[in-house]
Subunit: 430 residues, 2 copies
């Protein structure tokens, strides 16, 4: 029995939308959005797409008209009733009503602001301007659209069985990773791969495979839409965006020095327990921990997102000890450049000494390396960052100078204010 | 849009039939059936299932009730109108009306005869008795049912994604073989894998993948149902069954010595060109060729189905030369124990010296080796053979004594009549 209606319906699509929901985004974006909506609703922020992998000339690969259609489609999206119900009623991190009514009412009316797009030198300059809580929700949509349009462009010429075998290979590859991870006792791993996923459907497959293959070693996904549909936990806390914008808004060096802590002071007014995870590396982990106010000793954990992860974790453990805390009651979330072998190595090194969690990103949801000629599906380093706030440029230093961003003079000023000296350069793993 | 009707329809199946059509069988079975229908319609023949891999205790793995349901389902099948139309109207080996009207009228009314099933020592004794043209059509159905029930038994405990990854791995494995075969110029390979396939759906996938991946290097499939549905060539000529039964029916040693040639004399009354492929190994290739009547020099080719294939091919080439024939105008079909590397090796050795074709069986449609624990899906050596005709036992010697079958005294008599001396034992590759 052919379902004629479905067939006809599919055939009359104008486009095949990549982002089909405002909650096809990372959970921490919504947590941060609520925090920003409460604390800095009027800050005018600009987000900009940055392709760190210059050799991939996105504007030559992805058609501009097709890109505009996808971006326009995102602007046509509104929070649906079911999505709103889920956000209002679901338990997140053990808590109901995580999202306040005033925020939800605002979110239900939200349309994402306009975008600005041009081609320069084989790359797309794609920027979004607007009030911070509105414009920040473009980040994940823009990234996942560009990643998937690139995938589609590469897949276009392939035969039906060639395609099936491509996905068969990718499935096998992921399953072998899952089989290796299954051997790790007390593993806690979550999907953080929305932003640089191969495609939505592939991420959805990966999450389900992790769920079946790892059982309760799999903690959930950062992707709200997939978490809702597949009934798994939505996972995430906060990102560099908060200290970057708070810092750009600071009116003096003294305010700047305090900005990263002000972010967390605002954060803890709303959250507790497993959501009290600090991200210390925006302007150097070492200085951040040294100067941290006493109340940060009580926070639950730290996310390590740049630099050598073992070094960062040892630094955190020593810091907790120096502050009279028991590291075994603290949590470290690793989220930078992970793949299964790195996860196993770090789990072996730190489990028992501290509570360990992993936010596994690109190599979970986009490991198509080696599967097509010229490695044309290998993931690449695309980001979408807040580049200015109220007209002032943002700065990020991180624990890896290759991840630093901002104007040179401002980088120098931030290094002075935050006392950042020499740093070790490390290759950026997507 | 959920297709409710399809869902409900699927759910109310009593069983999921493995063989759903009387033409889900090898094309050569139908060619032979027509020949037998014409020449030996009244011979009473018994077919029997033989599991050469004793370590696989089929009766412990496959439930008897389920097996009976599948066998009963085959007895409920009749040739459908569309199947009959295809057999009557399709072009096979460049010829229309391959199947005569009297045969088709008989086939349209055919119901397969009863079966006899018991469990002995962890194996199934499954036999079929009846007039030769009717009973012979059980062979492929019985084999593919038992192979697939064994697959189903092993797959039963697996999770949804585990299953998907299992097939992903099998697909990848086959595709890698196809990629290697794609490098071989002037390759001619066909699917001969119906009898020991993993499952019908998997064979169907393999045929389509070969079609896309190899283009015109893929010649077609032995499976008539798949050939019809996928619009590829139906491939096959004749099998050991013919000389085995003709020989059992012989009333004297003199008649016995002539029986294998009588098969081919009957055959060439109906067929020409690429269907004139002799199968010389039933009672030893060497003696068969030495004593072959002159008219066999003109036949198009030889199928090598036991013994060392290169040795057999050299023997055939020398024989043609000794008979004043140009081997470059002759065809050799290799069909025993093939996998991609063996195919490539033989193609490199013989292409240019002779026309070469490959009938690739079990390792095409059932290479699940190494994909599940204890290798529980590895193919095994199951056959279903004519064991007697008009009450007399059949005998097969082949070019590999491990493939020999029949009572010891009859084997001795056949060896004497056909002048078969020492033979080299070779491992039987399924």
């Amino acid at each position: 029995m052919v379902d004629i209606a479905t067939r006809v319906y599919n055939h009359k699509w104008k486009i095949d939308p990549i982002v089909r929901s405002l909650i096809d985004t990372d959970f921490y974006k919504l947590l941060m959005c609520q925090s920003v909506f409460r604390n800095k609703p009027d800050a005018q922020v600009t987000f900009s797409l940055i392709n760190r992998t210059k050799t991939i000339r996105l504007a030559d690969i992805v058609d501009e008209g097709v890109l505009r259609e996808q971006l326009d489609h995102v602007r046509s999206l509104r929070l649906s009733r079911g999505e709103s119900t889920w956000l209002r009623g679901n338990m997140f991190y053990g808590k109901r009503q995580m999202f306040r009514s005033d925020f939800m009412e605002w979110f239900e009316k939200l349309q994402l602001p306009a975008y600005h797009l041009e081609k320069v030198d084989g790359q797309y300059e794609l920027t979004f301007e607007g009030s911070w809580p509105e414009v920040m929700l473009w980040e994940i949509a823009a990234l996942s659209i560009l990643m998937e349009l690139r995938s589609r462009a590469v897949l276009k010429g392939m035969g039906k069985f060639e395609l099936q075998v491509l996905y068969a290979r990718a499935m096998t590859k992921l399953w072998e990773k899952i089989e290796r991870l299954r051997e790790v006792e007390n593993l806690n791993v979550a999907d953080f791969g929305t932003r640089r996923r191969h495609s939505f459907m592939w991420q959805d497959w990966c999450v389900q495979a992790m769920h079946e293959g790892l059982g309760d070693r799999f903690n959930g996904t950062s992707n709200c839409l997939i978490a809702m549909r597949r009934e798994v936990e939505a996972i995430g806390t906060n990102a560099h965006e908060l200290p970057m914008v708070y810092s750009a808004l600071a009116d003096s060096d003294e305010e700047l020095a305090q900005a990263p802590y002000q972010v967390l002071a605002d954060w803890q007014e709303e959250h507790d327990s497993n959501l009290l995870i600090m991200l210390p590396d925006t302007y150097g982990t070492e200085g951040f921990l040294e100067r941290a106010p006493e109340w940060l000793d009580k926070w639950t954990g730290i996310r390590i997102d740049s630099g050598d992860p073992a070094t960062g974790a040892e630094m955190a453990i020593n810091w907790w000890k120096s502050r009279g805390q028991d590291p075994r009651e603290k949590r470290i979330i690793f989220s930078d450049g992970l793949d299964d072998r790195k996860i196993i190595e770090l789990a072996n090194q730190f489990t028992g000494r501290v509570r360990v969690g992993f936010g596994w990103g690109t190599m979970l949801t986009n490991d198509f390396r080696g599967l097509v000629p010229d490695d044309a599906l290998a993931p690449f380093s695309l980001v979408c960052k807040a580049v200015s706030a109220n007209g002032r440029p943002t700065v990020k230093l991180s624990d890896n100078p290759r991840k630093a961003m901002g104007p040179a003079d401002e980088i120098a000023r931030y290094k002075r204010v935050f006392g950042v000296g020499d740093q070790t350069e490390m290759e950026v793993v997507v």
